[in-house]
């Protein structure tokens, strides 16, 4: 079953002479339960694809089908219950004046979920934070803990699809691994579909089955993670990317 189908997507910012095209004619399908990776350098348009999918960027064309719903200009409440997003910077994605409890309970109230109290405790458990974190403010949490709260918030409406916008790039290396493992566990236990954006091939290779490489708003190549491990890239840019990430390791 296809969970996400994007055909001929274009995204741009500004109009007239100021128009800048961020994404050019991108098409891809993601199956249910699959983890799909988007890799590319900064400014290549990978985050923009996610933002256009959830409706944060209104200027796009093409067709998008997500969770059986063909998307127009507006997103329905059911869509937000099905598709959620985790942002890059956990220091900016939590309201500084809201406790963890308030963040999670507001989300559940918006989605009309009953037994809020039980769900919050369970969610915090799911993301590896105990109930002791429930009434803390973001400034009382570390970066990794904040990102866990952000993941809990994304999981609160019980979505089937999670869009991950560089969820680990703002964290230090040991915490990165913890968060990646948590995401992998959650994907296994809840059968989630992920689209994961990253500029780090190592991070994407750890989690994803299929990887799309982006450059200047276009897909240059879509390859499986096995092909990537065997360094079987056909496009020059992918080869360059692989070579540089191998260099950084050895």
């Amino acid at each position: 079953m296809t969970a996400i189908s994007v055909q001929n997507m274009n995204v741009w910012f500004g109009t007239g002479a100021l128009r800048a095209d961020a994404v050019l004619d991108v098409s891809f399908d993601v199956n249910e339960g699959e983890i799909f990776g988007l890799v590319g350098e900064s400014g290549s348009g990978k985050s923009t694809i996610l933002r256009a999918m959830v409706g944060l960027v209104p200027t796009w064309s093409g067709t998008m089908q997500i969770a059986g719903e063909t998307l127009g200009k507006k997103r329905s409440q059911a869509f937000f219950g099905n598709v959620q997003m985790v942002f890059q910077d956990p220091y900016a994605s939590l309201h500084p004046r809201h406790t963890v409890d308030r963040v999670l309970s507001e989300v559940m109230r918006l989605h009309g979920i009953a037994d809020v109290d039980e769900r919050i405790v369970q969610l915090l458990d799911d993301v590896g934070l105990g109930a002791g974190f429930r009434f803390r403010y973001p400034h009382q949490l570390s970066g990794g803990q904040r990102q866990r709260v952000a993941i809990a918030r994304a999981l609160a409406p019980k979505p089937t699809i999670l869009l991950l916008d560089e969820p680990t790039s703002a964290l230090d290396v040991s915490v990165q691994a913890e968060i990646l493992n948590l995401l992998a566990d959650l994907q296994q236990s809840q059968g989630l579909t992920y689209i994961m954006v990253s500029h780090d091939l190592g991070v994407v290779g750890h989690l994803c089955k299929r990887i799309a490489v982006m450059k200047d708003g276009e897909f240059v190549e879509v390859l499986s993670v096995e092909a990537m491990r065997r360094l079987e890239a056909s496009h020059a840019y992918t080869k360059h990317l692989l070579a540089s990430s191998i260099q950084s390791v050895s």
């Binding site: 409706g55 409440q77 937000f80 500084p96 507001e106 989605h111 974190f133 009434f135």
Partner: protein
């Protein structure tokens, strides 16, 4: 003693166990930060003193605030049991200053409730909605800003009629534009942050986002600005009183009292000076308080 330590620990707990404890604990932390600012504490004490004086004016006053005694006019401070002397009509200045505190606080509270709220609504709506709404609301704000405040208040009072309520209305109508500007500027920095995006992705509507997510972050800077403006509000009220457009005689409004003392300012300095000192001390108290509140509430320092 041990129970007191228990309460302190409970308030400073890193792991609050209920909504109430989390809220109280964040208030308590703010209070601790505020308390470490000596000048702000001085301001708070002076203010509490003035509020006490206003509440217990009937008990503390030595004379009737309106009783005239022309035989006892223009007595020096301390003579015949008149602590601050008497004015041109022989009324006890000490008692009048006490009752005047009620009027000043009444004006300040009313203005402080109306003007920032109006500014907050206009500013956040303009900032969040953007586009035409923003342009229209901000041009209206600019028009109000372009007038000198006292002149505009004068025009309003002249149109509405003299009196405290109209003075309050006039001051509020002239005081909101700076708040709208601040609220809009704050909103513009907040509206594109990830936590607003995140709540939009949960399907929250603009009403909820503005009132629940943007207001709490704007209010702190507005509160600071309001306390710093309190002095200006009192002075404007006093200025209107001085010009005869605010509180009407024989009401003991401080500005009006200074206005009365003007005739005797050369040979009976205390008639104008005592209410002047009262205005000075309440203005200074609000300023010091505002400075302290800025340290406590500024969200930029709050991250650590």
């Amino acid at each position: 003693m041990s129970s007191e330590f228990g309460l302190r620990d409970w308030l400073l707990s890193e792991e609050p166990s209920s909504r109430r404890q989390a809220a109280l604990s964040s208030w308590y932390n703010g209070w601790l930060r505020f308390r470490s600012n000596t000048l702000a504490m001085v301001g708070l004490c002076v203010l509490i003193l003035i509020i006490f004086a206003a509440i217990f004016a009937p008990v503390l006053a030595t004379h009737d605030q309106f009783a005239q005694d022309l035989g006892q006019r223009l007595l020096r401070p301390g003579v015949d049991g008149h602590l601050f002397g008497t004015d041109g009509l022989g009324r006890d200045i000490y008692s009048r200053v006490l009752y005047g505190a009620r009027i000043s606080l009444y004006i300040v509270l009313l203005v402080a409730m109306v003007a920032p709220l109006l500014g907050l609504i206009v500013g956040t709506v303009a900032g969040y909605a953007g586009g035409w709404v923003d342009i229209i609301l901000m041009r209206i704000t600019d028009i109000f800003l372009a007038f000198p405040r006292l002149i505009l208040a004068l025009a309003f009072v002249a149109a509405l009629g003299a009196g405290i309520e109209n003075a309050v209305l006039a001051i509020s109508l002239t005081a909101w534009p700076p708040y709208a500007r601040i609220a809009r500027a704050e909103t513009l920095t907040i509206r594109n942050s990830d936590y607003i995006h995140a709540i939009r992705l949960q399907g929250a509507g603009p009403m909820r986002i503005v009132t629940r997510h943007i207001w709490p972050l704007c209010i702190s800077s507005l509160v600071v600005r309001v306390t710093l403006d309190m002095a200006g509000i009192i002075l404007t009220a006093a200025g209107l009183g001085f010009l005869g457009l605010g509180a009407q005689p024989p009401s003991p409004e401080w500005g009006a009292m200074i206005s009365d003392g003007r005739a005797y300012i050369l040979d009976s300095w205390w008639v104008a000076t005592i209410p002047g000192l009262a205005i000075f001390s309440i203005s200074l108290a609000f300023n010091l308080l505002g400075d302290g509140l800025r340290d406590v509430l500024d969200p930029k320092d709050n991250g650590s």
